[in-house]
């Protein structure tokens, strides 16, 4: 038991208090202050209730057959007192909670905007230059606004270190904002149950030091020039939607798997046989309806104009790297 408690104290995080994770956003301290305000009031009343209860049990415990010495069974002054005092306290707590919420709710005008898409089961973050990443990189000490929507079911973006949570709903936009106060990596969870891999729908917020964010974004956006093509292709596979229909583990989805497909000879709808090479893959991305693999529906949209040549090359290189 003491081993477990010891581990708890050492558990994971640095900073933070007994009840709360570290405070990494400008709003966190305010939220924690209200939390602890309620905590001390609650502790006071809890100790009062349990203390009185224990005292009465000890003081008035009697053997069977002994009857109560008796006391009045109502007292208006007392009743009104213990109705009014809690009433005043909850009004105060309501006000503090509401005021704190408005701070969390209202984002500054000049906030840096990132578009967020939730889908089963990952997050995509799109920056103003169009670059899409699976993790959220933000500059420190700059207000950031997230404009969020879902592709399928309801998700909820939750960053405990920032005390930020907002549902991500299909068919509408929801917003959240924060201003990070300290560089580092922090956890993003999905907080609204969304099915099989709900608990693996994780991402990181990477808070970059002043100046580093712009460097990171520029480098990340140019990943086609700086990364080996297969690696760049792997990133595009995840961020540009291939992964929704094409697996990389050999299982058949809405479309055929990418695993080991390169170099194989595949039967098309209509019976023709095609050797899968660079040109077939390129055609399948630009004009996917022309030659569809037997057993699949012609449902893939064209990516002509949506993917640059360099990106197509990278994806092809990635597919080539997925050996059987």
């Amino acid at each position: 038991m003491s081993f477990e408690l010891g581990m708890m104290a050492a558990a994971g995080e640095t900073g933070g208090s007994f009840w709360m994770p570290p405070e990494i956003s400008t709003s966190a301290a305010g939220v924690d202050w209200i939390f602890y305000f309620i905590f001390w009031i609650s502790l006071f009343f809890f100790l009062l209730i349990v203390g009185l209860m224990t005292y009465f049990v000890v003081r008035y415990r009697r053997p069977k057959g002994v009857e109560a010495e008796g006391a009045p069974s109502h007292n208006m002054v007392l009743e009104v007192t213990w109705s009014v005092i809690p009433l005043i306290l909850v009004i105060v707590i309501f006000y503090l909670g509401f005021k704190g919420f408005m701070d969390l709710f209202t984002s500054p005008q000049n906030a840096y905007e990132v578009l967020v898409t939730g889908q089963k089961w990952k997050w995509l973050f799109q920056y103003p230059n169009g670059y899409v990443d699976e993790n959220l990189h933000v500059p420190v000490d700059v207000p950031v606004r997230l404009v969020m929507s879902s592709e399928d079911v309801i998700h909820s973006l939750y960053i405990p270190a920032f005390r930020v949570k907002r549902d991500v709903v299909p068919g509408r936009y929801t917003k959240a904002w924060f201003q990070a106060t300290q560089a580092g990596d922090y956890q993003i969870f999905c907080a609204e149950y969304c099915g099989k891999s709900h608990s693996d729908m994780l991402a990181k917020v990477v808070v970059e030091k002043p100046g580093d964010f712009e460097k990171w974004l520029e480098k990340a956006s140019n990943f086609l020039d700086t990364m080996p093509p297969a690696e760049a292709g792997a990133r595009l596979y995840k961020t540009r939607g291939c992964a929704q229909c094409h697996s990389i583990d050999g299982t058949s989805g809405i479309g055929p798997t990418f695993k080991g497909v390169f170099g194989e000879t595949v039967v098309m709808v209509g019976g023709a046989k095609v050797a899968v090479d660079e040109n077939y893959l390129r055609e399948s991305i630009n004009e996917p309806q022309v030659r569809v693999v037997a057993g699949y529906q012609p449902v893939m949209p064209t990516f002509k104009g949506r993917l640059k040549d360099k990106e197509i090359t990278a994806i092809i290189e990635y597919i080539k790297s997925l050996e059987r």
Partner: protein
């Protein structure tokens, strides 16, 4: 001694409701509220056992991050079934339909409920609803969580329709029980039983019945709309079909928040009885407690939006729902203070039911106070959908309602079956459950406020120690429950015969024999103040209480 016991239990050897008639039909088609109550009791305890097994499987899976004993899809079904079985099959019908059915007419001084046939029909509906729920489990279960949020529930390929149909039917069972209780309390009070002579448990059941009748139809309509969308593709909640997923949440919580008061109100009613009887003192502030039950029933309708503070509803709505939510805190606080004042200068006896009442005040105290954190908007944003919520509602629902139910079960057990259980084992089991419960759920507050989201199969390693401790606690609780099952079953066959009034209660059900005759009372009972104990005296030869100056056993 044996002959004394016989005399004490009055007509015990002769006709009572258990021996009145025999055979399966005499039970399954009975119109006797006591037998219906008993059938409900067996049914809900079976559901509680099933829900408990699901809970233990969930906790065992969470011993380690990643896979421990099952895959993610099985886990998602397990926590859904745990929630659905506990809520729809156990806790909602728990106190009103099982204990309430048995006790309400006798406490009131009536022969039966107002509509005995409707009462039986509501039990048959319960069985039908349970069969649908079991069918969905047999077909492979449901993975939506007990809340069936759209559009997940309209798109998942698990067996949502069977389960929601089950919940729909169970809803009608609940409505009929509520309707029956309202009419019974209005129309079947005997001469002398005025509103303010009614025991507080009946006030609580009355408040509960109002919610059951007014809120449950909304759940029915909502689940029906869900089925229509899923089966016919009509766009109501799914944005892909032109619907609004947040609308579902409004509809769902419009029922399901009042429903938590369906669960807790009758529990509070039981505690009012127990605290007064085992303190041998008139309940303090009778009218405040009675009115607070009605206040909770009414206010409970106006707070559903607090489940949706992060859903994207407007800041104005959040503000209104937060303010209304805090208003419910007042009547709850009033009750707790009144119970404490009742104990003051009492003569406190720590029998098993009283130990449950004290556990209730402790656990519901934590459950209620942690509600303050969740009502406060800024703090709720952080705590919403984390284990803090899970801990909070287990402290209110289990630490509150289930503990009160167990207190009531131990209190009325001698009346229901005419037997006493082993008092020492009763106290030990209560203690084990209390310790196990706190170990399981208090740890969940801490991991929740540190950001552990609920309904997670996998988790970041930081939370491992909390999860492990929580699981150990749940095993300890299971030990307590098995011990309880053991001594309660044992008492049915070997238990000492119960006297008419073992606890010295002044309410009417303790004026008739244990167990009561088919018609509840051999002659019309004398209605008096339900909390005036001055006419009762302890007789160690029973052991139990009898009317002062009455014949010695």
């Amino acid at each position: 001694m044996a002959s004394g016991d016989m005399a004490a239990s009055g007509a015990g050897v002769e006709d009572n409701y258990l021996t009145h008639s025999h055979g399966f039909k005499s039970w399954f088609f009975t119109l006797d509220h006591k037998r219906i109550g008993l059938m409900y009791l067996v049914s809900i305890l079976t559901a509680f056992f099933l829900g408990g097994v699901f809970a233990l499987l969930v906790r065992t899976e969470l011993l380690t991050p990643g896979k421990t004993i099952m895959d993610a899809e099985t886990y998602n079904r397990m926590f859904t079934l745990h929630g659905a079985a506990m809520i729809f099959l156990f806790i909602i019908p728990g106190i009103p339909a099982a204990l309430g059915n048995f006790v309400l007419p006798i406490m009131l001084g009536a022969k039966d409920v107002a509509f005995p046939r409707l009462n039986l029909f509501s039990y048959h509906l319960y069985v039908a609803g349970a069969i649908f729920a079991l069918a969905s489990i047999a077909m492979g279960g449901v993975d939506t969580g007990w809340t069936f949020y759209t559009p997940y529930s309209t798109t998942t390929n698990s067996h949502v329709i069977a389960m929601t149909l089950g919940a729909f039917i169970l809803g009608f069972s609940s409505i009929f029980t509520g309707l029956n209780f309202i009419v019974t309390i209005h129309k079947l009070r005997p001469a002398g039983m005025t509103w303010f002579k009614m025991p507080l448990f009946l006030w609580a059941l009355y408040g509960t019945a109002i919610i059951q009748v007014l809120a449950t139809p909304v759940l029915g309509i909502t689940l029906l709309l869900l089925i229509v969308e899923r089966a016919l593709g009509v766009g109501i909640f799914d944005p892909a079909l032109g619907g609004d997923p947040v609308l579902y949440q409004h509809f769902f919580w419009f029922y399901s928040h009042p429903a938590v008061y369906i669960m807790i109100l009758p529990g509070m009613g039981i505690i009012s009885e127990l605290v007064s009887v085992f303190s041998r003192k008139h309940i303090f502030g009778y009218k405040f407690i009675a009115y607070s039950s009605i206040a909770i029933a009414v206010l409970g309708f106006l707070v559903w939006g607090h489940h949706m503070f992060t859903s994207g509803q407007s800041a104005m709505m959040n503000m209104i729902f937060s303010a209304l939510t805090f208003s419910v805190a007042i009547p709850s606080a009033i009750k707790v203070f009144n119970w404490l004042a009742t104990m003051y200068k009492g003569a406190i006896h720590l029998d098993t039911p009283m130990l449950y009442a004290l556990s209730f005040i402790f656990l519901f105290g934590i459950g209620g106070l942690t509600g303050l954190f969740l009502g406060a908007l800024a703090v709720d944003v952080h705590l919403h959908d984390t284990y803090f919520i899970v801990a909070h509602f287990h402290y209110t629902m289990m630490g509150g309602t289930v503990i009160a139910f167990l207190g009531g079960l131990h209190y009325w057990w001698p009346k229901m079956f005419g037997r006493m259980y082993n008092e020492t084992l009763g106290r030990i089991a209560c203690l084990i459950i209390f310790v196990g419960f706190n170990t399981t759920f208090f740890t969940q507050f801490i991991m929740g406020s540190h950001g552990m989201p609920r309904r997670y199969y996998n988790y970041v390693p930081q939370f491992t120690p909390y999860h492990r401790l929580s699981t150990w606690g749940s095993y300890l609780m299971a030990v307590g429950f098995f011990l309880m099952a053991g001594y309660l079953l044992h008492s049915l066959f070997r238990g000492r015969k119960a006297p008419v009034n073992p606890w010295g209660s002044a309410t009417l059900e303790w004026q008739t024999s244990s167990p009561p005759p088919h018609d509840n009372f051999p002659e019309a009972p004398a209605v008096g103040d339900p909390y005036d104990f001055s006419n009762l005296e302890y007789d160690p030869s029973l052991p139990g209480y009898r009317r002062r100056g009455g014949p010695k056993a």
